[in-house]
Symmetry: C2
Subunit: 493 residues, 2 copies
């Protein structure tokens, strides 16, 4: 062998079983979540951020390119607000144009994990973002754009970044580029990483270690676990052989058993993985949506007045400016444009048990900012108000079914926030609704997938969109039995 040795196809320690264990464990850092909330409030006191609205033409450091109307940073870095011209001849709106954020730089969203008393813990950060409706939210260990960590804005170095920039001494549990909101970003992607360490790690101010069980419980708190944390958590390798071999007990055990079985590739699925891949290829190849970047001053139906950019109907979103004065950040203060959506969205998975294996209904959805036309989205993903002016046939399928579901069918129901670094008060109601085994809407472009299939797709880029990834994190949170009361009125049968 001459000094070379082959790695076994599977690592000696089954990470997915350690993850499952962490999901039913309390934490070593906080004995209970009361202690966490006390820490979190104290951190909020210390790290205040003042955010005020600023007209777009008064944003320090930003200028309007006279040739295009695009909003750009004078350094040429960070991001720009440009236009996109969309053609979707088979869609309810055959063509439109809109502002869109162009951010070619790829940042790092990373969670550091480490075993304490044999239980995996995640190092989470209490972090302010200007667009957060409530200031502080729970973020990944590292959440850094390339401009951040190459110090374009000459702020402080990003804590813990080195664990993700040089992983050679550590164990990489996940490392994959994933897309973000395809309706607001042009081909934005971030690197989602989970790195496990065994060495001592200093817990800096504003950071804390939480078990997955604790994080799962915190996912039921409105606007607490932020989007970046959710997308990274969705990339944790929950699936693997024997995932469903220890049947859960307690309230909701049958549902949790179906979820655990769904994490085991040996449990099978309604459609084989080759069939799923072929279906995605087919939808990508047959969907005619094209999106071309255009100068911002060429978007039709949008107007720049009163220091913001607004659609003539008042629908969709505005582009507005904010000025930030912060403590506990890399830099003390800055200004930037953000997208402020109108209305609270609905993001829902319909799930069902098939032969005792949980499946989620995904939708192959085309969005202007997608890298390859289509990604897998939740069963429902929309802001209902945006459809008011369209004919009834254009309303999103299954929206009424999801909103009208009785409490006995609702497994998850929490309003959570989208990325507060680019979006202002962007909130969505995340729902997981169970339906009977016979239910099948029979819609083209929709398929029932087992959870291990979503897990396999999540190892690769641009299959599962950011909203669906958030819901995957919420779905896995249901493997954690909650204390009596906290999810009781909606406890699964």
């Amino acid at each position: 062998m001459a000094g070379l040795s082959l790695q076994a196809a599977r690592p000696p320690k089954p990470t997915h079983l350690r993850i499952a264990e962490s999901a039913v464990s309390g934490g070593a850092r906080f004995a209970d979540l009361g202690a966490f909330h006390a820490w979190f409030s104290a951190t909020a006191e210390r790290t205040r951020m003042r955010v005020e609205r600023v007209p777009l033409d008064r944003l320090d450091g930003w200028l309007t390119d006279p040739a295009t109307g695009n909003l750009v940073h004078r350094s040429g870095r960070f991001f720009s607000v440009e236009g996109v011209e969309v053609r979707d001849p088979d869609g309810p709106v055959p063509s439109w144009s809109q502002p869109i954020i162009h951010q070619p730089e790829v940042g790092i969203l990373g969670i550091l994990v480490k075993e304490f008393d044999g239980v995996l813990h995640c190092l989470m950060q209490a972090k302010n973002e200007p667009g957060n409706c409530n200031g502080l939210q729970l973020s990944p260990t590292v959440q850094a754009t390339r401009s951040n960590y190459t110090q374009v804005h000459r702020g402080r170095p990003v804590p813990y970044l080195d664990y993700f920039r040089d992983t050679s001494r550590h164990s990489v549990l996940a490392d994959v580029r994933q897309s973000e909101q395809g309706a607001w970003f042009y081909r934005k992607r971030n690197r989602n990483m989970i790195v496990e360490v065994t060495e001592e790690v200093e817990e800096l101010d504003g950071f804390c270690w939480l078990s997955l069980g604790q994080l799962h419980e915190l996912l039921t708190v409105p606007d607490l676990v932020n989007m970046d944390a959710r997308t990274v958590l969705s990339c944790l390798p929950f699936s693997g052989p024997g995932a469903g071999s220890e049947p859960p007990a307690g309230p909701g055990h049958a549902f949790r058993a179906a979820l655990a079985r769904s994490c085991d590739p040996a449990a099978g699925a309604l459609h084989g993985t080759g069939e799923v891949l072929s279906w995605i290829t087919d939808v990508r190849s047959l969907t005619d949506l094209t999106a071309e970047r255009v100068p911002l001053d060429r978007v039709r139906g949008w107007h720049r007045t009163g220091g913001r950019i607004t659609h003539e109907t008042g629908r969709f979103f505005d582009v507005v400016g904010v000025g930030v004065t912060a403590e506990g950040r890399e830099v003390g203060g800055w200004m930037q444009p953000v997208i402020e959506p109108h209305g609270t969205g609905v993001i829902a998975f319909m799930v069902k048990r098939v032969g005792g294996v949980l499946h989620a209904l995904v939708h192959a959805r085309a969005e202007p900012g997608s890298s390859d036309v289509v990604e897998l989205a939740p069963t429902v993903q929309c802001t209902p108000e945006n459809y008011d002016h369209l004919p009834a046939g254009a309303r999103p399928p299954l929206l009424e079914e999801v909103l009208g579901a009785g409490p006995e069918r609702i497994r998850f129901d929490t309003v959570l926030s989208e990325e507060g670094g680019r979006f202002l008060n962007a909130r969505n109601r995340y729902l997981i609704v169970e339906t009977g085994e016979d239910a099948d809407p029979g819609l083209p472009g929709y398929r029932w997938l087992a959870v291990h299939q979503l897990g396999e797709l999540l190892r690769h880029s641009y299959y599962v969109n950011v909203q669906a990834r958030s819901l995957v994190a919420c779905l896995h949170s249901l493997s954690t039995p909650l204390p009596t009361g906290s999810r009781a009125p909606r406890a699964p049968r």
Copy 2:
């Protein structure tokens, strides 16, 4: 179960073992390859294509957009020749611009397969393309752009297309969107499909059934198996459990055993699959190459004179026009621009056995037309003449090692053509060179991968570039023991 049944994670019939069997079998249609060559020559007699050079400004149906200088078809379909502005601050040439083909439409490259006497056969087409140096080459069953099959040019319908457009009655062995030459195409991709049928299929004029063993032998004939056939063949699922369980006999058996073992995921690999995915993510995230589409009349260093577009040094390629008069095609005659590269390229895999398992050295390579910055390329992929003007340090690594390898180390060595529908006389010398187990160039951006790992990546889009896919097809061809003499001077030990 209410009528629903779960599909097993693995199909009942192991396709990869049927593929391995076909690779060591003769064919049902032609008793030997002499009969094939006779058929092929007769077909060539009947389907002549006359190709003549036409100045770019005299191409019927094409015009030069006055605002951009782009060469576009008057229908707005097919493809256009535009410009691209490339920045690669860490590369040997930090920035350049060049003409590039923009073809947003996704075509289908499909091979129909069917068992005859229990052996899988591929339905191949003898097809002329204007850029082929020798007229007829062996193509997939279907090779159709979307403009082709939606009949934009009002030609005849594409034979066998329905098998690929509606697969519901058939078995899909592969179905994945893959990229093409990233140096000449801006984000071009085609849908690579392999569909198995059990029903009767009429063998139309110009089509024939070949076993994989026969196709593998034909891969040693210069300029015969075309690029589209090679890329589709590379997507065949060769890998699976037990792939290496029947040790081959005869000359070169040890090499073929190492290749067969490399198709078995249980045989392991130098780097685990998670590690490989993380490495690809890392290179994609750290590579700073950007490529922006620009108007063709803004590319620097290129001139449109004498009816063609040429680089001022005479290097790289020209854009030229051709006029085609054909029989046996969808339309009788047409004109189009094509890319005419200068010089014959070298495309090589260095391979070695590690613990008896064959590994290939891949290079994570950034190209202007890549969808996500980097794809896995061969160990060597270059046209040596293009580097003459650059300092020695800019010469491609390992080029000398590959070209200087003794005959006892050469496992494959054939000049093959690139896509004759877009490229004129584009030929590359495809090489597979074996090296000792201890050899490791230790270059950043290179990794040794087992063949089953390449197979797993090939189920997904944009991991393995078109040159590497061609070589994967050539590598698999080495599982076929050739008749004495045909590869004898280079027979593996």
